[in-house]
């Protein structure tokens, strides 16, 4: 069994790559042990370590006349050799692996994506109460839209005002009904003026910030030299 290895260290973690070549005419099962001073971080798929890996190394089958390439990380400084062949034996046929870990590794993740949760739930802590009391507890939709879209409220008021101007008398009656009658529209007119002032102030602040963003240049070069 021939073993070639390379190692590379970055940020306190060594990346070890190994290549095993089997010159024999039969399949061989090889136990490869990590010699670095730390646990093996094995390659994972769907969160489950690949078959054959454990904290000390890996056991794998190298086919007759073939090569197998492996790699892992280890939170330890480099040392020579980083990896060694511990045992070689004939590979008896172990049959297909059918344990749950294999199923998780091979098949897709069942979990809903994280961003779905951010949009529809208050958080993981309250998931049980969300489930049990969906009908009794009102969802906090308005507060979440506030944070996501700061201009929504302004836009709604302006659109309402525009709609009131654009529709005829009949349509206006309906709109009046949905906007708290005449008093509601008077309040709307007042808040529109305030809205205009606030929006212009916001635009001016945004303009200033954009200018400053263009002008500012962090001293990347000198900082890089220092670090």
């Amino acid at each position: 069994m021939d073993l070639d290895w390379t190692q590379q260290s970055a940020a306190g973690v060594s990346l070890v790559a190994a290549r095993l070549r089997n010159r024999r005419a039969t399949d061989r099962r090889v136990r490869l042990e990590n010699r670095l001073d730390g646990p093996v971080f094995p390659p994972r798929r769907n969160g489950v370590p690949e078959a054959g890996w454990d904290r000390g190394g890996v056991t794998t089958v190298v086919p007759a006349g073939g090569t197998v390439a492996l790699g892992y990380a280890c939170p330890a400084p480099e040392s020579t050799p980083p990896v060694a062949v511990e045992a070689v034996e004939p590979a008896a046929d172990r049959g297909g692996e059918t344990d749950p870990a294999t199923a998780v590794r091979k098949l897709g993740d069942h979990r809903p994506p994280r961003d779905v949760l951010d949009r529809c739930c208050d958080g993981t802590e309250s998931d049980e109460s969300v489930v049990a009391e969906t009908s009794t507890r009102p969802r906090k939709t308005t507060s979440s839209t506030d944070t996501h879209e700061p201009l929504t409220d302004y836009r709604t008021r302006i659109e309402t005002a525009e709609a009131l101007g654009a529709v005829g008398v009949e349509g206006a009656t309906d709109l009046l009904a949905t906007n708290d009658g005449l008093v509601g529209v008077e309040v709307l007119a007042e808040s529109l003026e305030a809205d205009a002032t606030r929006l212009r102030a916001l635009a001016a602040a945004a303009e200033t910030l954009a200018d400053r963003a263009e002008a500012a240049t962090p001293p990347t070069q000198s900082l890089r030299r220092l670090s």
Binding site: G96, P100, A103, L107, P112, R114, V116, L117
Partner: protein, 219 residues
């Protein structure tokens, strides 16, 4: 023993078949659909909690005409659930109660694969329509890869004479057809399995036959 009720396609009645089969086998039915639970639940801990390490499988069991291990209905719970713990959860239900029937979700993801990997028998549910059969075929392939012996196919909601020989040849397992019957459809919601609620009905006879096939596969 652990019996996985799977079928690939959604909406073919896997939960209904699993619930009624569990009643016929006097087994615990486990709602394995982590993203879209179907079996009755109450306010107690669910399979989500079991798979997140917050409860034991025994604590989550819910007594009723059929003992159910319900599943949570929140996306956050589904996300927190570690599907690789499902095998151990099913094994512990089996150890304490003898037989666990798992209602698998639709599709071919890990939450179908894990029950199939630990199952001693698989029952496929299909609608008597060609497109449902294609999904059942894919699930059968997965069951074969994961060493779950397919013991029977349940053709659900059969109205006309179903193409039993075609299905049997395609899927390679004996076929039982469950006649379309409102009592079957309502059995889960009303918690009234047909073998108890209507023991002399045709559907009850079908579930008894299905249970017989599962039982005989064990010997």
């Amino acid at each position: 023993m652990i019996v996985a009720v799977a079928g690939g396609k959604g909406g073919v009645g896997k939960s209904t078949v699993a619930y009624n089969l569990a009643a016929a086998l006097d087994a615990v039915v486990v709602d394995g659909d982590l993203g879209m639970a179907n079996l009755p639940a109450d306010h107690g801990p669910t399979l989500h909690d079991v798979l997140a390490g917050r409860a034991s499988a025994r604590e989550a069991l819910r007594a009723g005409p059929v003992t159910v291990l319900p599943c949570g209905r929140s996306l956050a719970g589904a996300r927190a659930a570690d599907v690789s713990a499902l095998g151990d959860a099913l094994t512990s239900v089996e150890r304490e109660h003898g037989t666990a029937v798992v209602d698998c979700p639709a599709g071919l993801r890990a939450d179908v694969g894990v029950p199939l990997a630990v199952a001693d028998a698989a029952v496929l549910v299909a609608a008597p329509e060609p497109f449902a059969l294609a999904d059942a075929l894919r699930t059968r392939e997965l069951a074969r890869e994961l060493d779950a012996p397919l013991v029977a196919v349940a053709l659900n909601r059969v109205v006309e004479e179903p193409p039993i020989p075609t299905v049997r040849d395609a899927l390679g397992a004996p076929v039982e057809s469950v006649p379309a019957d409102p009592r079957v459809g309502q059995s889960v919601e009303e918690e009234a399995p047909v073998v108890d609620a209507a023991p002399d009905s045709d559907p009850a006879a079908t579930f008894a036959a299905l249970a017989g096939r599962v039982d005989s596969s064990e010997k």
